[in-house]
Each structure stands twice: as structure tokens, then as C-alpha cells.
């Protein structure tokens, strides 16, 4: 299993990726932002201020490490546990809150459940809830890039639970046959809601599955942001230069529940959670940066304070934005509204206007 930084922050300079202090600090800041975003999302849901949330605490190294390798023309298909991918792509924090709040500023008009990311401008296609289906979209997007002779690649991330789906098989099979420039990034966080990995697959690893499709699979320490960066960078370089797909299995841990509707203490032990807490990706990366002299305790605290202040400001600002207008219910089902939807929309809007005149009911 590829590892650059050990759990205690020690590292082997021979395998360190070539990243400037500036890059390393930016990655660190993103990881801290994701951690705080998760805390904020959970808290907003618990207070009834948003309807639903799925946290990705413990998986910050995966999100930041893999997306830091992407170029602006590349395509990303993040999972619901990858808000960090959105941030690294350039999506402002405010847009993430617009999404989870489903307000009228959300670019997808509040139509998706929280954490279903999709930001067209940043080449991130909106996602559905059935897992595994988007892997095929990444293969198709990559096919089209290759078809036109472009250098862009597609990176799709998903949990190990998705590897049980038939679409996982179809996607890897098609990608192998077509040799499309796509990177499959599996965040093996040990649980598909309540099902442990060993009961999702009898394979010795997720990575080994790639062998059956005729391309490389690599297993890496998913709590080591530099291992993630290094493995993804190499897979992307390979894809870009015509070498075809790679499957990366990042071994990590979902520190929280599956979602706000779930109590993980039913299906896993506190000892296990504590063991993984000692492998925390942020603690480890912080220790590494300090050992390298890139970060001090004081600077770290200052960054955290800045993030907290920004988070509080953005939440306050975005919560003031009203929900989408009811008329948006009916638009963009088709490119042109067919008569039967128009009829429903007109009847509904007339009733709304009626209600409005009577002062609401």
C-alpha cells in the first residue's frame, strides 16, 4: 500500500511528491475547510436548518489529494463525500451552502438533495442517488475527449459500496476495452452504510479487481494526502498520454455515520472508531508540515480561525437567500415545455395567485 506520510507525520523524502510549500499549505487549508464544512453541515441539519446531510469527516485526504491533480479542462465526478473536490475545482464555499440549503441561488435550483454535487461550469456533472451509475458517465465523457483528440481526462470517485453494482463492472469493462482516459477513484471507507467491506466483496482488495478488466489497480493509504496525490497524479498522467484507465483504492474510514439518518454505533465498535481516529488525515498532514517547517502551531490556529470566521459569515449570508420560486417546479424537464406540463403549471400558478390575493391559506 502506497504511503508517503506515516501516521505520526514521519515521511520518506525519497517518495515525497514534488509540491511547493505553497501547494502543501493550500491543500492543508482545503482539508481543514472540509472538516469544518462537515461539522457545520451536521450542525445545521441537527438544528433543522437543512433537511439532510452526509459528512465526509476522515476522508479529507482523499478529496483534496485526488482533485489537486486535476487540470481545469478535466472532468470530475465527485461522490457525495467529496465536497473538497468541489472546493479544489474552484467552486466557492457559498455555492456549497447554496446547494445544501437548496436556496434560489443554487445553480441547480435546489432540485437535489444536499451533498449531491453538480457544478457545470467546473465540469462536474450533477449526480443522482443510486450509486455506481455515474462511473459510466465518466467513461463516456472520456470517450468523447479521446474521440476529439483532446487531452482532458475524467476522474470519478465513489465508495467501495458502489463496486458491488453492475454498473461498476460495466464501467470498468467498457473503459478497459475502449482504453478511455479515465481514473476510477474508490474511497474505501470500510462501510456501505452498515455493511463492512468484507461483506461487500470476497476479493482481497478493491484494487485487485482492475486486473480482471485489463488495467492497473493500486491500493494506497487514503488518509495520507500525499500518497493520494501521488497515485492520482500518476494515473492521470498515464490516462492523458493514452495509457488508459486506472483503478485506485484509497483505504480510509468514514468517521461519522452514513448520513444524518443513521446511528453507526449499531454496527461498529467504538474501539474501531478510536483506532481510525489515531490515523486522522489532518492530524497526520499537520504533523508532517510542522516537521518540514512549513507550518507552525500558531499559523495553524490562525488558519482555523480564518476558516471559522468565513464559515460563519457565509452561512449567515446564504441563509438569508429565499427558496426557489414555485414556478421553477416546471421548467427544464424538457428543452421546451410540452403542453401537458404547461397546463399543470398554468393551473398551479393561477391557484397560487389566488391564494396570494386571499393572503395565503
Amino acid at each position: 500500500m502506497l504511503q508517503v506520510i506515516r501516521a505520526d507525520g514521519e515521511f520518506d523524502p525519497k517518495v515525497e511528491p514534488d509540491l511547493s510549500h505553497e501547494d502543501l499549505l493550500r491543500m492543508h487549508r482545503y482539508m481543514l475547510t472540509v472538516r469544518r464544512f462537515n461539522e457545520k453541515g451536521m450542525s445545521l441539519q441537527r438544528q433543522g436548518r437543512i433537511g439532510f446531510f452526509m459528512e465526509s469527516t476522515g476522508q479529507e485526504a482523499c478529496q483534496i489529494g485526488m482533485s489537486y491533480c486535476l487540470g481545469t479542462n478535466d472532468w470530475a465526478f465527485p461522490s457525495y463525500r467529496d465536497p473538497g473536490t468541489c472546493l479544489v475545482r474552484g467552486v466557492p464555499l457559498s455555492a456549497l451552502f447554496d446547494q445544501i440549503m437548496g436556496n434560489s441561488a443554487d445553480e441547480n435550483k435546489g432540485r437535489n438533495m444536499p451533498v449531491h454535487w453538480g457544478f457545470a461550469k467546473w465540469k462536474m456533472i450533477s449526480m443522482s442517488s443510486p450509486i455506481g451509475s455515474k462511473l459510466l458517465h465518466a467513461v463516456g465523457v472520456a470517450y468523447a475527449s479521446k474521440f476529439r483528440g483532446e487531452k482532458s481526462i475524467a476522474l470519478v470517485s465513489f465508495g467501495e459500496g458502489a463496486t458491488s453494482q453492475g454498473e461498476f463492472h460495466a464501467a470498468l469493462n467498457f473503459a478497459g476495452v475502449w482504453k478511455t482516459p479515465v481514473v476510477f477513484f474508490c474511497e474505501n471507507n470500510q462501510y456501505a452504510i452498515s455493511l463492512p467491506t468484507r461483506r461487500s466483496t470476497a476479493s482481497e482488495s478493491i484494487a485487485i479487481k482492475a486486473e480482471a478488466y485489463g488495467f492497473d489497480g493500486v491500493q494506497i493509504d487514503g488518509n495520507d494526502v500525499l500518497a493520494v496525490y501521488k497515485a492520482t497524479k500518476s494515473a492521470i498522467d498515464k490516462a492523458r498520454s493514452g495509457g488508459g484507465p486506472t483503478l485506485i483504492e484509497a483505504v480510509t474510514y468514514r468517521m461519522g455515520g452514513h448520513s444524518t439518518s443513521d446511528d453507526p454505533s449499531i454496527y461498529r465498535s467504538q474501539e474501531e472508531v478510536e483506532m481510525w481516529r489515531r490515523r486522522d488525515p489532518i492530524t497526520r498532514f499537520t504533523a508532517y508540515l510542522m516537521k518540514k517547517g512549513a507550518l507552525t502551531e500558531q499559523a495553524s490556529q490562525k488558519i482555523m480561525a480564518e476558516i471559522d470566521a468565513e464559515m460563519a459569515r457565509v452561512v449567515k449570508e446564504r441563509e438569508a437567500i429565499p427558496p426557489p420560486d414555485p414556478s421553477t417546479l416546471f421548467t427544464e424537464v424538457y428543452s421546451e415545455m410540452p403542453w401537458h406540463i404547461r397546463e399543470e403549471a398554468e393551473e398551479f400558478m393561477a391557484n397560487e395567485a389566488d391564494r396570494g390575493q386571499k393572503g395565503g391559506e
Partner: protein, 325 residues
């Protein structure tokens, strides 16, 4: 004058659209070297090459899912599902992804994919090469559903489907793939808009509504009825989503009697939707209960196929039931 059948019409339309637009690509099982099991794509591999005429592994989820990705990244895929009966492994991709991409991305990343699928019985195909399950798709907002019955309509509607920015499920009436022949329009811009039914035969006593292969059975039944003094107006819907309610209502207001005939099983068939629309909007015009004549509510049989399929006599009985009320 050259007469073409429906398979030739599909082939010709795909060829002209691919010549016109380099982004149109085809995906499916055996569509390249083999030219498709019905030969609808014969010769296209030679003309357009393997990057545009893609022989895929046997996986309908893979075919439809990758087509969605291609579409999001600028291509305009036309998928062939070998038989409609094989589409279900790709059902999640159609219902959860293809149909909803435009809506859930608020129009930012729509997917424009045409899925062609030969449908209906009559080729000795048994349970899994015979079904007519158009309502699975009309029930899903975001999809267009086309159901042509003739070579000319196939050309006009397929061209509209390929140029339309929305996803289209395109049902091809395989029973009459080679039996119905017409001279095709030479105009390479010839297209038929969705949502426009066609009155095939004017009549004053009974309105007979149908689509896909059974249209030809209905025409025969109307002829038989006329010999018994019943004047039947035959309407070919041509598309079910959107569907042309105006043409239906105008006819119903004239005749007051309605038969809806489809090959799909009767329960929850699209005939139920049409009947409900008529009841909601033109019940005062009705002089008789609406008669629905569908396939039997059983799986599609093998040995008893010709007994199962609605024939002109069965349609005639339905016409008489409406006329004699």
C-alpha cells in the same frame, strides 16, 4: 420510384444525419461489422469508421450510461438496443440519469441521447423479443417517446429525435420492419414534429386510436367495418410523449365513440391515459363507453403468438362494441 421499408428508412436517416453532423455516433450490440441483427445499421461502419459506429460489449447499462457521458461531452449518440426486451439492465440509466439530467442540473448539463429499440411481437420471439412496454417510459418525465408505424414516419420522427436536444426512446415496429414499403421523401431536412398525430382514414361513427405495428391491423379492421356500414376514423398517434390530444378530441367530438387499440398489455397501458383524458375533457361528446383493446394481461407467449396478437377481427369486435352501444 424506389420503395423503402422501415429498416431501410432507419438506415437512410442515420446515414444522412451522420453525414450532416460529425458528432452523431452510434453504439450498440452487433451494429458495426454485423450491421445490427435487423441490419438497420448495415454499411455504416464502412462509411463512418469504428469510432462513430461502436460495437459494444453486451451490457445495456454500459451502452446507455456511456452514451449519457458522451452526450454531456458534446457527442450526440444514437443507441441501438437490440430488442426492447433487453433494455431493462439499462433502466436505471434511463430513469435515474437520462430522463432527469436536464432537470436536476437546471438545464446546465442535459443529455441528448436517442435510444432506438425494436418493439412488439410477431417474429416468433416469445417472452423476451416481443414486448411493447412504452408506458414505462411515458411514465418518466424528461423522456420523449416516439412510436412510428411507417417508413416515412420513421424517417421524419427519427430525424426529429436525433436533432432534438432531449432524450428520446424510439420504438421501431419490428413486425412490419420489412412489410410496409413507401417512397421516402428525398429531402434530407424532412422531419415530423413530435406530438402530431396523423388521421389515416376519416370516418364519422367511431374513432380508432392506435400506434406502432398495430396501426396496420387497425387499418384492415376499419376496412372490414366499412363493409358492415360502420365509418371508422383511424388515428395513428406517432408519438406518445408528447401526445396529440387535440386531434383525438376533435375526432371524438365528431364520432362520439372511441376504441383505443394497442399491442401492450391493457392494464396500465397508454390507452388508459388517453381514455382518462377523453373522459376529463369530452365526456359530453361520448355516446358509448370508451373501449380499450390491448394485448392480453399476460406475458407474451411463444407457441400461441398469433392467437395473442390482436388481429383485425378482434379490433373489429371492439369497433362493433363501441358502435353498437
Amino acid at each position: 420510384m424506389t420503395l423503402s421499408n422501415i429498416v431501410q428508412s432507419v438506415n437512410e436517416t442515420l446515414r444522412t444525419e451522420m453525414r450532416r453532423n460529425a458528432n452523431v455516433v452510434l453504439l450498440g450490440e452487433d451494429i458495426g461489422r454485423d450491421g445490427g441483427v435487423f441490419r438497420a445499421t448495415a454499411g455504416l461502419l464502412n462509411e463512418f469508421g469504428p469510432q462513430r459506429v461502436i460495437d459494444t460489449p453486451i451490457a445495456e447499462d454500459g451502452i446507455i450510461g456511456t452514451a449519457i457521458g458522451m452526450s454531456v461531452n458534446g457527442l450526440e449518440p444514437v443507441v441501438e438496443i437490440q430488442f426492447l426486451d433487453f433494455i431493462y439492465p439499462g433502466f436505471n440509466q434511463i430513469v435515474s440519469e437520462l430522463a432527469k439530467l436536464r432537470y436536476r442540473s437546471a438545464g446546465h448539463t442535459p443529455a441528448h441521447v436517442v435510444i432506438r429499440a425494436p418493439s412488439g411481437g410477431g417474429i416468433k420471439g416469445g417472452l423476451y423479443h416481443s414486448q411493447s412496454t412504452e408506458v414505462y417510459f411515458t411514465h418518466t418525465p424528461g423522456l420523449y417517446v416516439a412510436t412510428p408505424s411507417t417508413p416515412t414516419d420513421t424517417m421524419g420522427l427519427l430525424r426529429t429525435a436525433i436533432r432534438n436536444p432531449d432524450p428520446v426512446i424510439f420504438f421501431e415496429p419490428k413486425r412490419v420492419y420489412r412489410t410496409v414499403k413507401e417512397e421516402l421523401p428525398a429531402d434530407e431536412e424532412f422531419a415530423i414534429p413530435f406530438g402530431k398525430a396523423k388521421v389515416l382514414r376519416e370516418g364519422t361513427d367511431v374513432t380508432l386510436i392506435c400506434w406502432s405495428a398495430i396501426v396496420h391491423t387497425c387499418k384492415e379492421a376499419a376496412e372490414l367495418a366499412s363493409k358492415e356500414g360502420i365509418s371508422v376514423e383511424v388515428i395513428d398517434m406517432r408519438t406518445l410523449m408528447p401526445f396529440d390530444l387535440e386531434t383525438i378530441l376533435a375526432s371524438v367530438r365528431k364520432t362520439g365513440r372511441v376504441v383505443i387499440a394497442h399491442e401492450a398489455t391493457k392494464i396500465s397501458g397508454f390507452g388508459g391515459e388517453i381514455a382518462a383524458q377523453i373522459a376529463e375533457r369530452a365526456i359530453d361528446s361520448l355516446q358509448a363507453p370508451i373501449v380499450r383493446m390491448g394485448g392480453f394481461d399476460t406475458p407474451f407467449p411463444y407457441a400461441l403468438e398469433s392467437t395473442y396478437l390482436p388481429n383485425p377481427e378482434r379490433v373489429l369486435r371492439a369497433i362493433k362494441k363501441a358502435a353498437g352501444y
